[in-house]
Structures are given as structure tokens and as C-alpha cells.
Symmetry: C2
Subunit: 468 residues, 2 copies
């Protein structure tokens, strides 16, 4: 029985309630009908947009470890309790407390020009008055890496390699090392500061921030991102090897003793509450925008999916656990979440999936191992086909920063959202609510609720399909 066009309540009237209330083997027809009804309920209007609107409006930006991030966690606890979730609680953990300061850059020669720059997370600071130094400009990251140790002494290193637009975000994946490791690599070669062409597919003057990293024992140098037009301006000005000289002010600080908060809530399973289907997004954001697509949307989509399941007349067999992580952007939340859960506890997690790629529809779902070929895979494919979305024939390759630390013991799935335009605004001041379309976001909720419900109310065992 496929009840594609009926709302959830209507589906229940057709007999689902009686069938589900008994502890017995899942009825595939009933699972399919319920998944379709939940999907259609999401498409009619889910709680995702109101959640996202209120989070980004009332709190705004939510940098991990900041007062605003703590306010967001308190806000989420209140909201989730009001929505009826069970076991709502906060898990706190230490973070570096990196805080943005002043940021300015001006070209001194060959002509005086302001440049738009933003500091990278975890980067060091210039003196308050800034630094003035010659620029060593490289058109590719590989060109910079090819320089010998010490050869860039006293230079502000600039790398202007452009990012490629790709639906699945692989253009970002291919180049993120330029931001994440570039400052440390430049420092090894003598650089006193490092600037990267912003990892963006737009032509905006707004630079995009993001984390950079330094090995233990290496003092962070100042590091930032230049907007795409500014990087192209430097490319033009340096034609023929013309020397550039720059003044740079970046004064971030670290706040000792800072912590961040992950918020956890459950829909407790009716038969096997110890078996957990984990879904979630992250509550923290970068500090330039209000974190609408990254990742208020992911938090909102998974909260809405869980809420639709919570509102069923009967809980699913297994527990649906919602985690709104508190420090994804600096990758402290996932390790903290995994660290407080023993391997034995994690072995009861059926599957984990993270929503952190904006507010656009899901177009494909990659399942753990060979699970696409299970009855679960077939039911999910049937449920999401009308969106349209497919179950990927290939297995999931990882699941995101916040759940990958679980990956040793927990099968990971990946619900793929369309990221064609995601990196136009990701990590920039442009990441604001107005970029989100409620109806398109509800298409993502529809896929998430089908995925989550079927995992929680069926007896699918992803481990059996080589997921670990």
C-alpha cells in the first residue's frame, strides 16, 4: 500500500495505528505507507523554517565558545522541550575560544588600494598597528608548496588559486587544504602572514572565513582570506612579476577556558530504545553571517524530521536521537560527542547521519556499505523518488565532521543536498536567512524524515552490509 497523496493522519486512519501499536515484525507495506505520509507531511510545511527563522533572528551568529553560541544552546533546549522532545540536555566541552578582532588590508604599492580580507579561524594576530611587507604571490597552492623552507622569509604569502563549482561540493573538498594547512605551510617557509583567495564560487567582495590549523608547537601566524575580486586584482597587478607591498591588520584573540555546548534530544523508541538512529546538524556558525545555511538549516531540517516522527501516534521501534552540535566549524564537537560514549554504547547506534550542506533539496542518499540493496534501500528509494531523489548505488563516503569520530563503531549515511550555489555564501557575511527558501528546505526535510523513520521503525542492520 503506497499512500503517496494522503497526509500522515489519513494514512493512520487506514489501519496503520493498530498494526504499529503491537510489538511485532515490521510490516513493509505499513513502513512504506508511513514513510510516504511523513514525506508528504514535510512537503506541506514542516517546522524547519520557523526554527531557522527564530534561531537566526533571535540569536544571529553563533561562534563556537562565544556568548551567542551559549545563548543558542539555551534557546534550543527551550525550543526542543516545548516541541515535546525527551531527554533534552546540553553536553559542554572545551574549545579554544578564538575571537575575531580588527581586520584591514591595503595595498601600498604599486598603488594604494583597500583590500577586503577576513581572518581565518584559529589564526594568529598582527600587532595592533599591523604589518607591512612585500607580497609573495602564487597562482596555485602547489606553487607555494614547491618553495624551499625559509625562502619566503619576511613575506606576506598570497595564494590565488580559484575554486571549482561542483554540485556535490567536491570543488571545496579539493581545495580546502589551501585554507586549512596553507598558513602552517607558509610559516614553515618563512612567511610572516598568509592570505588565501577565499574558498568561494561567487564574485562577491565578501571574503569567506573558515578554520585553519597549525601543528602543535607552531605559533599561529596571521592568516586570512581575500575576496575573489581582490585576489583577481592582485593577479592583474602582479603581471610580469611587478612587486606588491601590503599593509595587513588582523587582531584575533583566544579566550582561555571557553566551552561550547552540544544539545541532545530524543524520540524514545517504543520497542528497542537502546538502539539509536542519530541525526543532527550544528548550532554553531561562523561569526560573519547569521549561520542560516551553515548550519542553522541542517539543525532545522533534522529537528523538523525528528519532530514529525515525534508527532506520530506511536513512537518508532528504535530511538531517534537528535544532536545539535556546538563546535563543528572548528571540529571540536564531533570528537567530544564520541568521547563520552563508549564503544559498547556506540555499537547500539543503528546509523548516524549529519545535515550540514545548506537548505536545498536532497537529491541522493548514500547508505552505509551495500545497504542500497536491502529492503530498507528499496523502501527508501520508493519513498524519496517523487521528490525527486535517489538512493545512490555507491556507498556513503564519510558523513561529516560531527559524526565521523563515531565511524569506527557506527555506520554512517550521507544525504546529499544540492550544493551548486552553497559555496557562493558559505562562511561569509552573506549567510543570512533571506537566502533560504522554506519550500525547498522542506524538500530536504521530506527526504530526511523518510530516511530516519524507516531506519528507526524497521529492523534494518547496516552493519550486516559491510558498513564498518
Amino acid at each position: 500500500m503506497i499512500v503517496k497523496t494522503f497526509a500522515f493522519a489519513a494514512a493512520l486512519l487506514l489501519g496503520a495505528a493498530v498494526a504499529q501499536a503491537q510489538a511485532q515484525a515490521p510490516d513493509p507495506m505499513q513502513l512504506q505507507a508511513n514513510a510516504a505520509a511523513l514525506r508528504d507531511q514535510a512537503l506541506k510545511g514542516s517546522p524547519a523554517y520557523p526554527f531557522l527563522r527564530d534561531l537566526t533572528t533571535e540569536i544571529g551568529e553563533r561562534l563556537a565558545g562565544s556568548d551567542a553560541e551559549h545563548r543558542a544552546a539555551q534557546w534550543a533546549v527551550t525550543r526542543l522541550k516545548a516541541m515535546g522532545f525527551q531527554n533534552v540536555h546540553i553536553e559542554s566541552f572545551p574549545v579554544p575560544g578564538w575571537t575575531r578582532g580588527e581586520e584591514r588590508a591595503e595595498l601600498i604599492s604599486p598603488s594604494a588600494q583597500k583590500l577586503m580580507v577576513t581572518s581565518l579561524g584559529n589564526a594568529g594576530a598582527t600587532p595592533p598597528q599591523g604589518i607591512e611587507a612585500p607580497v609573495a604571490l602564487f597562482h596555485t597552492y602547489a606553487d607555494m608548496l614547491a618553495q624551499p623552507v625559509g625562502s619566503l622569509a619576511g613575506k606576506i604569502v598570497v595564494v590565488t588559486q580559484p575554486m571549482v563549482r561542483a554540485q556535490d561540493g567536491s570543488g571545496y573538498g579539493a581545495l580546502a587544504v589551501m585554507r586549512f594547512m596553507g598558513a602552517a605551510e607558509a610559516e614553515k617557509r618563512g612567511a610572516i602572514a598568509y592570505l588565501v583567495r577565499t574558498l568561494s564560487t561567487s564574485d562577491s567582495r565578501l571574503p569567506h572565513t573558515g578554520a585553519t590549523d597549525f601543528p602543535p608547537g607552531m605559533a599561529p601566524i596571521p592568516a586570512g582570506a581575500l575576496s575573489v575580486p581582490d585576489a583577481e586584482q592582485l593577479d592583474r597587478l602582479s603581471v610580469g612579476g611587478r612587486p606588491l607591498r601590503m599593509h595587513l591588520v588582523l587582531t584575533p584573540t583566544f579566550k582561555p577556558g571557553a566551552t561550547a555546548d552540544t544539545v541532545v534530544a530524543d524520540v524514545v523508541g517504543r520497542e528497542r530504545p537502546d538502539q539509536v538512529v542519530l541525526i543532527g546538524g550544528h548550532l554553531d556558525s561562523w561569526d560573519l553571517g547569521t549561520g542560516a545555511i551553515d548550519d542553522g538549516a541542517g539543525a532545522a531540517i533534522t529537528t523538523a524530521a525528528a519532530k514529525l516522527i515525534l508527532d506520530m501516534p506511536h513512537a518508532p521501534r528504535r530511538t531517534v536521537r537528535l544532536a545539535l552540535f556546538g563546535a563543528e566549524e572548528i571540529n571540536f564537537a564531533g570528537p567530544a560527542f564520541a568521547a563520552v560514549r563508549s564503544a559498547a554504547e556506540q555499537s547500539h547506534y543503528v546509523v548516524a547521519a549529519e545535515c550540514d550542506f545548506g537548505a536545498e533539496p536532497v537529491y541522493g542518499v548514500a547508505l552505509p556499505g551495500a545497504s542500497a540493496k536491502t529492503p530498507y534501500g528499496a523502501m527508501l528509494a520508493e519513498a524519496i523518488a517523487p521528490l525527486p531523489a535517489y538512493v545512490d548505488r555507491a556507498p556513503a563516503r564519510g558523513g561529516g565532521e560531527d559524526i565521523e569520530p563515531l565511524g569506527t563503531h557506527v555506520p554512517l549515511a550521507s544525504l546529499q543536498q544540492d550544493g551548486t550555489h552553497y559555496f557562493d555564501i558559505h562562511h561569509s557575511a552573506d549567510d543570512t536567512l533571506d537566502k533560504v527558501d522554506a519550500q525547498r528546505m522542506d524538500k530536504a526535510v521530506a527526504a530526511w524524515v523518510a530516511f530516519t523513520y524507516l531506519a528507526a521503525d524497521s529492523d534494518v542492520d547496516f552493519r550486516a552490509k559491510g558498513a564498518l
Copy 2:
């Protein structure tokens, strides 16, 4: 003889050279052939893009009265001389020398949030530490004007009326008063500062600047533009009359004794050099971007059109005068240009037209008075039809800030460019070279060169058609 598909040189080989070299009545067939050849030459690649690239790259932003604006004028003199123009010279005139300072805004309550703001040109300053005050928010400009004098005492007034997208820019025209007069109107009502939702059709966090004005004797209050997403955030936060409180830092200054430079150059006419066809754009820009679409493009398009005419084997009958104005953005260049030219001198100007609406193609040409119905109108329509573009049946309504002071004595024409997306980036940091497509800009050059050449080499008399 219509030689649409021949390059200019080819057209000359067909007999134009011999016919033109003699002082005799213009041959309509020859005019038409030359106009078509010039148009096609423009479409094959004009000097517009190299001019714009070098101006925006070597100089960058060019705020009227700044060192950069003077460097731009010197750069243009050198460039125009190298291109072979005659009578290249600078005309200097006084300007207020308004210079941007610090700009920051934060909402204090109901929650701490950064806002993206930029100061309006000619606006006053806060103390260095800024001001903190309650917000009086109005959703329309009319709502603010409806407040009694004195009723907004001590408030930071915010007006969040959105701008309408329109191809011909009329959405901007309809709302510009909100920026240009709003600060003074708010001050009359007691406001200590004024912020306007940025006049923009985009959803970027980048605010757009632009001039504001205060009547003589009124001390300028601080005034700025909030980005579109920030204005919408305030709209949401103030629902139900919830009070807002803001901290605002805007510290612009005025530079006594500042001057700006208009650059003038000629293609001297071969028969009636005292009769002038005036075209041009403005060299100055706002200081946030590099002034690519506003108005490096207009300067580049008209320079390219004049250069194509300059490169003809024989000059046109009349003089083509190119003016690259030095302070359009604060409306000081047009009055200065007119003031140094007597009414008698202006009476020899055949027509004036200003290019100040970006780098997109021209889609229509509005001529002075009833000139669309002259043989000139018919020839121009024929020349630009393939672009495609039309001659408007309605007369030109004004011509732009820089030529309107001439309008008492000089017929004005208006070449209409597609402005559908112009106000997405106009006056913002996003106004950079990468937003310009060279081939599309050359379509504008093609219309401009046809318009200009036909006016300069024919005996059209716009005055006879009720243009004044």
C-alpha cells in the same frame, strides 16, 4: 548602400573616403554605411575593456577630491593623449572632500548582533566611540515623513522600505529621495542619526553608499545605509513593536580645499569644429568598490566610441568632445563644466549624452524633442537595429547629472542601457571589474559610436525639433 557586414576599412574602400574628403552636403547612404561599419568595428572588439581594466586595476576606487581621483585624471590624460585625442586637458573645480572613516553598527537589544552599515556621502560623524540610542523604525519613507517635527528626538531613525527592480532604473529614481533627503528630514524631526535600507536589488550583506544632502545651515547628522539582510533582520526583530537599541560608529570627515578634475578631449571636426557633439561618463567613483560599472564603464564606452571615430581616415564634420567628469557622485562636475562655458558657447553644442548606467548593452535611444522622426532618427534606427536596439518614439527625459546643467542651451539625448541588475552592485564594494563582460560592453559601444558619428557627420539640428 548598407554595408552591415563589412568592417570599417572595407567600407572605405567602397568609395567612402573620396566622398567624405570633400566639404559637401552629407550623403545619407554614406553616413549609413559609415555608421554600420563603426558599429561592426565596435562589436569586433573596441578599446573599452582595456581602458576599463587598466583604470580599475591601476587606480582602483576614485572618490571625488581624493588623491586617487587625481591620479585617475592624470592617468586618463596620459591615456587619451596616447590614443591620439586632441586638446586633452584637465578642468579642476572645488569639492567638499568628504572622506569615509570608521563604520560599525551593533544591535544592543533585544540581542547583541553586528550589523553591516556604510556611511552615506556628505553625512556627518558620530563621536569616535559612537552613539548608543533607541531605534525608531519605519517600514516606509512616507511613515517617517508623517512624524511631527521633534517627535524623533534622541532616536536613531531607520527606514526599511525595499527598492523595486526595474530595467530602466525607475525603481531607484522612485526611492532615491529616501537616501538623498532622508537624513535631513529625520534631523528636522529630532533624529540623532539616520539609517536607510540600502538602495539595492540584491540580497548581499554589502551596503551601498551614495550621496545624501543637507540644506544650507543644517549640520549633517551621521547617516548610513544598512544592508538588505540587516534591514530585514531589524524588521523581524521589531515585530509587535519590540524596542531596538543600537550602537553606531560612523566617523567621516571633510577635507578643506579639495578639488576634483574633469578630463576633456576632442576629435576636432573637419568642417565645423565649433559645433560640438558632447559625450562622456564620469571618472570619479564611490570608494567602496573600484568603480567598474559606476562609472568606469561609461568612461570606457564613450572613450571607445570617440576613439573609433578618431581612427576614421577623415574626421567627421563636427567636433566630438569627450568629457570624463570628476565628481558626478556628489553632483559637482556637471555644474562646474557648464559654468565655465558661456550660453553662446553652449549654443554651438549639437547634442550632449552621458553614459552612466553600467556596462550592459544599450536597448533604446531617446533623442531630443521630436528628433526620432528626422532622417537622423531613421538612420540611427537602421544602424542599431541589429544589436538589437531601437530609437524610442518618446523624447529623452533628461540626460544625467553631468549634462543636465547644460540642458537649458543644449539638446540632451539618452542611450538606455539595461539596468535590470545594475542596482545589485551599484555604489557597493561589489562594483569591480569582474562584473563586466567585454563583449556585452562592446554592444553598448556599438550603439554609442553610431549615435555619436551620425550626429557629428550629418547636419542634424535637434533644436529644430523642439529639443529645448
